[in-house]
Structure formats: structure tokens, C-alpha cells
């Protein structure tokens, strides 16, 4: 019986080395990324040197390799919204930040996005928001894209809300949005339509101003 057990153990030993090899390959591809110089970033963004330093220190601490991949991003964003499921919205947000579309956010992407959102002009902010909604980057927001975004946002609310979110509430929200934004009623919203409609919206302009001093 001992011999049987012995042969069994020997079998499992043989299987291990192949798995180790793939692990080694993975290790080698994980190279850390360094951002461009501080002066360059300062020129490209609207942040001061000190602010960039603070931002980078936080970023580097969280992601020593210098890049954020989508999983980490989702995980971080989910921590802010424990009630519901923030993964879909985080996915869209990640794509909005990942301007180079290579599946990871570098520090430059991060800082540029923040610069636009916090220190940019009104037009820049609206453009950024438009790019967020335009999932397939075709320059138009159609109903499906909008529905996706709205549903993702409602998902973040979770199940326990007051009043309870009924099934057609996201759809209604999308309809209201299109009614407001789609001027020529062609079923899609272009960038110009979007910007014009937003500038006409008093409420939104006021809210925009409130976000000035987040950083």
C-alpha cells in the first residue's frame, strides 16, 4: 500500500514544473512604467508642481508598477460605492481615462483626466463627459449607449433605495435625456448638440461650478 501511495505522489511532482514556467513568463512582462518628467506634465496639465507631486506619491503608493489595470480600478471604485455594483460604471470610466486604449491607465492618463475634470474649461469638461457616454467612440451617443450608462449608474445605487427603483426608471431617465439633448430628433446626440443643450441647462451649469474645488 505504501508503494501505491508513493507512485501517486511521484505523479503529482512531475506536473509542477510546467506551471512554474508560465509563472516566470508573467513575472518578466510586469515592467514598471515611469511617467515623463515633472515639467512636461506641469506644462500639459493645469496642476502645479506640488499638486503633481502629491498626486504621484499617492498613485505610486497604490500602484508601484506605475500602471492601473482595469481590475484594480474596478476594485478601488467599488470601495466608494459599497451599496451597489459599481463594476459597469467603473468599466466605462476606465475606458474614458484610458485614452490610449491599451487596457491600463498610466499616471499621465490619470493626471490628464483629472486636470480636465478639475481645472479644465467648461467645454473641455463637457467634451470629456461626452466621451464617457460615447462607449464605442463613434462620435454619436445613441439610445443603447445611453441606456447602458444610465443602467450602470443605477446599479451603483444598489437594491435598497427610497423610493424603490422600478424596472423602467432607467428607461424613463434615458428618454428624458434624449428629449433634452436631441435637438433634431434623429435618435442620436452629437457633440455639438450635447454641448449646446448642456449650456442651456441652468441647473447643470450651477452644479458644474460646485465641482471646482474638489482638489
Amino acid at each position: 500500500m505504501g508503494a501505491v501511495v508513493g507512485t501517486l505522489t511521484m505523479q503529482t511532482k512531475q506536473r509542477k514544473p510546467s506551471r512554474d514556467r508560465t509563472d516566470d513568463e508573467l513575472e518578466m512582462t510586469m515592467v514598471s512604467h515611469r511617467p515623463e518628467g515633472l515639467e512636461q506634465l506641469e506644462a500639459q496639465t493645469n496642476f502645479s508642481k506640488q499638486e503633481l507631486q502629491i498626486l504621484y506619491r499617492g498613485f505610486k503608493n497604490e500602484c508601484p508598477s506605475g500602471v492601473v489595470n482595469e481590475e484594480t480600478f474596478k476594485h478601488i471604485y467599488a470601495q466608494f460605492f459599497p451599496h451597489g455594483d459599481a463594476s459597469m460604471y467603473a468599466h466605462y470610466l476606465f475606458n474614458a481615462f484610458d485614452t490610449t486604449n491599451n487596457g491600463s491607465i498610466k499616471f499621465e492618463d490619470f493626471v490628464m483626466g483629472l486636470s480636465t475634470l478639475l481645472r479644465g474649461t467648461l467645454r473641455e469638461k463637457l467634451e470629456w463627459t461626452f466621451h464617457l457616454y460615447d462607449i464605442n467612440r463613434d462620435g454619436y451617443i445613441n439610445r443603447e449607449e445611453m441606456t447602458e450608462i444610465v443602467r450602470a449608474i443605477y446599479d451603483m445605487m444598489g437594491k435598497y433605495t427610497y423610493p424603490a427603483i422600478k424596472g423602467d426608471v432607467p428607461q424613463q431617465h434615458v428618454d428624458a435625456f434624449f428629449q433634452k439633448m436631441d435637438k433634431n430628433k434623429d435618435g442620436v446626440v452629437t457633440l455639438e448638440e450635447f454641448i449646446v443643450a448642456c449650456q442651456e441647462d441652468e441647473m447643470m451649469m450651477r452644479s458644474m461650478q460646485l465641482f471646482e474645488n474638489v482638489m
Binding site: 506619491r57 441647473m203 482638489m215
Partner: protein, 637 residues
């Protein structure tokens, strides 16, 4: 939330711009961020080792000491740094937690020291990283077990009983801890002796003795000297029965006692005898009766009360039940497999002893345990091959669970050793603690004796106060304040217990009268102590707290006889007492008081007042305080 999340919060807030076009309502006003966004380097000085870190790093965990405003309490304006008087080595780990978000447990540190540091810095131990969590938990559990053992040892059952325990409790205690009293010890040894006698008798019974005359066969001694053995057996069983009944009577919880292992063993040991008495002498049942006598051998297990090692062995086997179970199970599996194989391998041969599979069990067991009696041997080649595989695997299967059992036994044995050592050390430690406590108590009493109370002439105070630290001064002042508050005084245990004893003997009335007479004599005013009855009641209160040394009680008697005003002793405190007394009497507002005696006096009963100056200081104290005792402030509240 994790640390890093704090750094991402501004980003998440900025990303909220994306919701604005969809918003149906206006956004709420954001909170005003008073703190400046610029970062600065903080200096943290921990017992001389200077650490520097960004303020943001510490702000990551706002519910800890360093992350909250609590650290401002430790800010040193002169050196512009935060100073902590703690272990700098440990602080390194704490600071790393802020930096990396993971708390690591340093293996070389004491677990309690680490816990204390964490508690100080306001960090919950639950966030220790996975890499170190297991080690931390193991160490913590081990430490707690050790502490639990300590407390168990400290409340050890060989501590003295409270004086008001019933005879039943005393009996139980005598049974459980034979060392507590001589009677218990005697009983313990007597039962041990009888257990041994009984077991030896059982054994010797079966030895063949020389046959009586006229018979050929050798008889076992049990039958030859049947009467003698029967008497011995009866005596032993009587003792065991008596012991069992006593234990049953004394047990605090009879049901629990009856269910315990030792009690079951006791019952099993004495049952065969009684059954044998009851059973009639016919042939059918005597066979069963003979088997019952086998149970008499269980008497040997009664020795486990007398031997700790045996108990440890039993406990080990109990705690290794799972390993033993595994051993048994795997052995059974192997036996069945090999028995089957051997049976079919040997089936063909003529005259083979492998007649059936159960018959092959015997061969398999004997081979696997490497006994090899040789009463069954395989003859075919296949049988021999499988037989050798059987013996090899037997060694392996048995060798595997044995180290686990051994390590378990070793752990339990060492635990036991440690418990014994701890108990011995505990006695020494308690004695030392008691002495230290008595030292501080005596220090205060001595302090008062030496006149540190502050209302006397300066030359004596200067002498007495020289050897006290500022801490002691303040401590004594505090105790003195308490005394003044309650209008009672501190005394020591010896005199207090003596008061209790003398009180019970009934010195009350005599003392009260003597005291009253003393009072009267002392103060020349009966108005001080108006109503005797009330005073007696107060005296009962006072008596329970008044400290009297035995010698002074006798002096009281002599005082009583003399009824003279004894001149106050030269000790200045005495003067103060008398003055106080006068003052208090004037006020007619007394509270019962304890007079203190500084050191347990060496009482010489036959000293009479006034003492000769040649008496050493301690005795003078006795005299003085004995006297002050007489002028005890009594009052009715």
C-alpha cells in the same frame, strides 16, 4: 476602507462630473475643505529615533492616533516634532503600516508588547496582513492559554479554604487534594496500599501452589487458601466501597461525579464482588461469574488518582483520538486487503493454513506488526511476494501516525510540567508581591508614626522626612487626605485580625467602660461622650476597625484597674492625638476611628506602663499606639 482608497477619493469625486448631464436635481454643495492641500513632512521622534513622513501618509488612517488630531497632544513646540516615549523598534512597524497599508507582525517580538503598542497607536490588530496573521493568531492563542493556566494556578485548589466551608466541602477538598491535611494524606496512602494489595491478591490467586496432601494436581493458590483470599478481597472491597460512598457524599455535584471516569472505574472495580455475593452457587451462572472476576483487574486503574503520569497518558490518548482513529482505520483497510490477497494466493496449496479470509487476518496482523510468529506461512511464490509487501507496508502505516501521538504527549507533558513550575513560582511571586504591598502600606504607617502628618514641631519632622521621594510624599499625602475624609485611619492586617478575634472573645463591654473611663479621665468632661448606649453601638463599629494588639488588651485591663491618666508618651504624634481628641470632643461630632500601629509589634504581654526607655523602638511604638488606642476617638455619627 483601505488606505489607498483615501488617495483615490478626489479622483472619484472628480469623475462625478460625468453624472451631471444626467442629473435631475442640482448637486449638493461640496464640503468645505479647510485643510490645505499642500503636503508637508512631519517629524516624529520616538524615544530619540527620528522618523520623517509625509502628513498625507499619516492622514490615510484617520481613526488612529497618528492620523487624527490626537497626535497634537504629543507635539513638542520647541523642537517642532511629535515626541512619543515608546519603543522605537516597534514604531518602525507601525509606520510601515501607514506607508504600505499592511501591518506586519515581527516574529521576534513579544506578542503582548506588540498588542500594547497597537492599542496605544489606536490600530486594530485585525488588519494584520495575511502573511503574518496566522503567526500572530497562534502566538496570541498560546499566550492566552498560558495566562489561563496562570490564573488557574493562582486560584489553585491548594489555597486555604474560606473559614466558613461546610464539612462536606472540606471532605471533598481532602479527597481532591490529599496534601491539604494529614488525615487526607493518610487516607490517600491507605487506599493506595489497599489497591496494591487487591491487585497482587488477584494475581497471586492464579499461581499454582503445591497441592494439598492426597491430591496429584497443583491447585491454584486461590482455591487452596480460598478463605484467606476471600477475606482479603472483602476487606479491600469494603475500603473501596467506603471511599466511593464518601466521595459521593462529598461531591459538590453528585450527577457530574457519577458520570466521571474515575467513579465509573470505582464502580466497576467493586461490582463483581457484590454480584458474586448475590449470585447463587449454581453451575450455569458461575461461568459468567468467573468472567466478571476479570473486571477486578480494573482496580489497577484506581492508581490513576495516585499517579499524575498515568493521568497524562490517558489524557493524551483522549486528545489524540483522531490520530488513533486514523491509525486504526488504515490498519483495518490494509489488513482486509492483504488478507484477501493472501487467501487467494494460497488457495491452491494443500494443507495451507489460510483456510478463510478471516483466518488470514491473523497472518496479516502478525506480519504487519512485524511480530512474525510463524504459525502461518505462505508457501506459494505469489504468497511470499505479497507477504513481503505486507510486512513492508505494515511498518510504514504504523510509523506514520506515531510521531503525531508522540508530539501530542510531549506537549501535554510539558504543559503539565510548566503548570507545576508555575505553581511553585507563583507562591514565591505572591509572597514577594505581598511583601511589597506591605512595604508601601507600612511605609505610610511609618510615615505617620514619624510625624509626617504635618502638624507638629519642625525638628522631628525634618529628621523623618529625609528619605522619601516626591512620589512617596504625594502618595502619603493622598492617603492622609483619605483618612481625613473618612475620619478613619489605616492600619495593618495583623492588628485588624487581632481586633476581630478579641472582639469575638467579648472584650467589648470591659473595653468600652475602660475607654469611657479613660475618656472621662483624659478630658475631664463627660459631655464629650454623652450616651453610653450610643457609644457602645459606635464602639461596635469602632471595634471592628480598632486595632488592638494582644499585649495592649492586657494593658487595657491593667489600665482599667489603675484608672489613672497615663501621661502621654513622648512621641509627638501622641500629643497630636490627644489634642485632636480634645478638639473633637469639644465638637461633639465624632466618627469612629482606627488607630494605627505601624509595624506588627513584637508583643510582650507583661509589659506594664509606663515603659522603660530601654525598650527598643518597636516596642515603644507599641506602647505609644496602645496608649493611643485607649484614647480612641469614639463617636456617634
Amino acid at each position: 476602507m483601505a488606505a489607498g482608497v483615501a488617495t483615490w477619493l478626489p479622483f472619484a469625486r472628480a469623475a462625478a462630473v460625468g453624472w451631471l448631464p444626467l442629473a435631475k436635481k442640482t448637486m449638493p454643495k461640496p464640503p468645505v475643505d479647510k485643510s490645505s492641500r499642500s503636503d508637508e513632512i512631519l517629524f516624529v521622534n520616538v524615544s530619540g529615533l527620528r522618523f520623517q513622513t509625509w502628513k498625507n501618509t499619516l492622514d490615510r488612517y484617520p481613526d488612529t492616533l497618528l492620523g487624527s488630531s490626537e497626535k497634537e497632544f504629543f507635539y513638542n513646540e520647541d523642537t517642532q516634532e511629535y515626541f512619543f516615549d515608546r519603543d522605537p523598534e516597534m514604531f518602525r512597524h507601525i509606520l510601515n503600516f501607514y506607508r504600505t497599508g499592511k501591518l506586519h507582525y515581527p516574529r521576534h517580538e513579544c506578542i503582548q508588547a506588540f498588542d500594547e503598542e497597537l492599542a496605544f497607536y489606536g490600530i486594530v490588530p485585525e488588519i494584520i496582513g495575511d502573511c503574518c496573521m496566522e503567526e500572530y493568531r497562534d502566538r496570541k492563542k498560546e499566550n492566552q492559554e498560558r495566562l489561563a493556566e496562570d490564573t488557574e494556578a493562582s486560584e489553585a485548589t491548594d489555597a486555604p479554604l474560606p473559614p466558613d466551608s461546610t464539612s462536606r466541602e472540606r471532605l471533598w477538598r481532602a479527597f481532591e487534594n490529599p496534601h491539604t491535611s494529614t488525615m487526607a494524606l493518610v487516607f490517600y496512602y491507605v487506599t493506595g496500599f489497599f489497591i496494591a494489595v487487591s491487585v497482587i491478591a488477584n494475581v497471586v490467586e492464579t499461581v499454582p501452589c503445591r497441592a494439598p496432601k492426597g491430591s496429584v494436581k497443583d491447585l491454584p493458590c486461590g482455591e487452596k487458601y480460598a478463605l484467606a483470599f476471600f477475606c482479603m478481597d472483602t476487606a479491600c472491597v469494603l475500603i473501596f466501597t467506603f471511599e466511593y460512598l464518601m466521595r459521593l457524599f462529598a461531591a459538590p455535584s453528585r450527577c457530574k461525579f457519577m458520570r466521571s471516569v474515575m467513579s465509573v472505574i470505582d464502580v466497576v472495580a467493586i461490582m463483581p464482588y457484590y454480584i458474586g455475593l448475590v449470585m447463587p452457587e449454581n453451575e450455569d451462572v458461575s461461568g459468567a461469574f468467573v468472567t466478571l472476576r476479570v473486571f477486578r483487574v480494573f482496580r489497577i486503574f484506581k492508581f490513576s488518582r495516585h499517579s499524575q503520569g498515568l493521568r497524562i497518558l490517558g489524557y493524551t490518548l483522549k486528545s489524540c483520538a483522531s490520530e488513533l482513529g486514523f491509525l486504526l482505520f488504515s490498519l483495518t483497510m490494509a489488513i482486509i486487503i492483504f488478507a484477501t490477497v493472501m487467501f487467494y494466493a494460497e488457495k491452491g496449496t494443500k494443507g495451507s493454513s489460510f483456510t478463510s479470509i478471516p483466518a488470514s487476518f491473523w497472518y496479516t496482523i502478525v506480519t504487519m506488526t512485524t511480530l512474525g510468529y510463524g504459525d502461518m506461512v505462505p508457501n506459494t511464490i505469489a504468497g511470499k511476494i505479497f507477504g513481503s509487501i505486507c510486512s513492508l507496508s505494515g511498518v510504514l502505516v504504523i510509523a506514520l501516525p506515531v510521531p503525531v501521538i508522540v508530539s501530542n504527549f510531549s506537549r501535554i507533558y510539558h504543559q503539565n510540567q510548566r503548570a507545576d513550575k508555575m505553581r511553585a513560582q507563583q507562591k514565591v511571586r505572591l509572597a514577594r508581591i505581598r511583601m511589597a504591598k506591605k512595604g508601601t502600606a507600612n511605609a505610610f504607617l511609618q510615615y505617620k508614626e514619624d510625624g509626617g502628618l504635618g502638624d507638629r514641631d519642625s525638628d522631628s519632622t525634618a529628621l523623618c522626612l529625609k528619605n522619601r521621594s516626591a512620589f512617596e510624599h504625594q502618595h502619603h499625602h493622598l492617603l492622609h487626605c483619605l483618612e481625613k475624609t473618612t475620619n478613619h485611619e489605616f492600619t495593618d492586617e495583623l492588628t485588624y485580625s487581632e481586633v476581630c478575634m478579641t472582639e469575638s472573645v467579648g472584650f467589648r463591654t470591659s473595653r468600652s467602660t475602660s475607654l469611657s473611663s479613660q475618656q472621662g479621665a483624659q478630658n475631664n468632661s463627660t459631655g464629650c461622650c454623652p450616651r453610653r448606649a450610643k457609644r457602645r453601638a459606635a464602639m461596635r463599629l469602632a471595634n471592628s476597625t480598632v486595632s488592638v494588639s494582644r499585649g495592649s488588651v492586657q494593658e487595657l485591663d491593667t489600665l482599667h484597674v489603675k484608672t489613672t491618666t497615663v501621661p502621654p508618651q513622648t512621641r509627638s504624634s501622641l500629643n497630636a492625638r490627644a489634642d485632636d481628641l480634645k478638639l473633637n470632643c469639644g465638637e461633639r461630632d465624632f466618627t469612629a476611628a482606627i488607630i494605627s500601629i505601624p509595624t506588627p509589634p513584637a508583643n510582650t504581654p507583661d509589659e506594664s506602663l509606663p515603659p522603660s526607655p530601654a525598650i527598643p523602638g518597636i516596642l515603644r511604638n507599641t506602647r505609644a499606639t496602645a496608649y493611643t488606642h485607649d484614647t480612641v476617638k469614639i463617636s456617634s455619627l
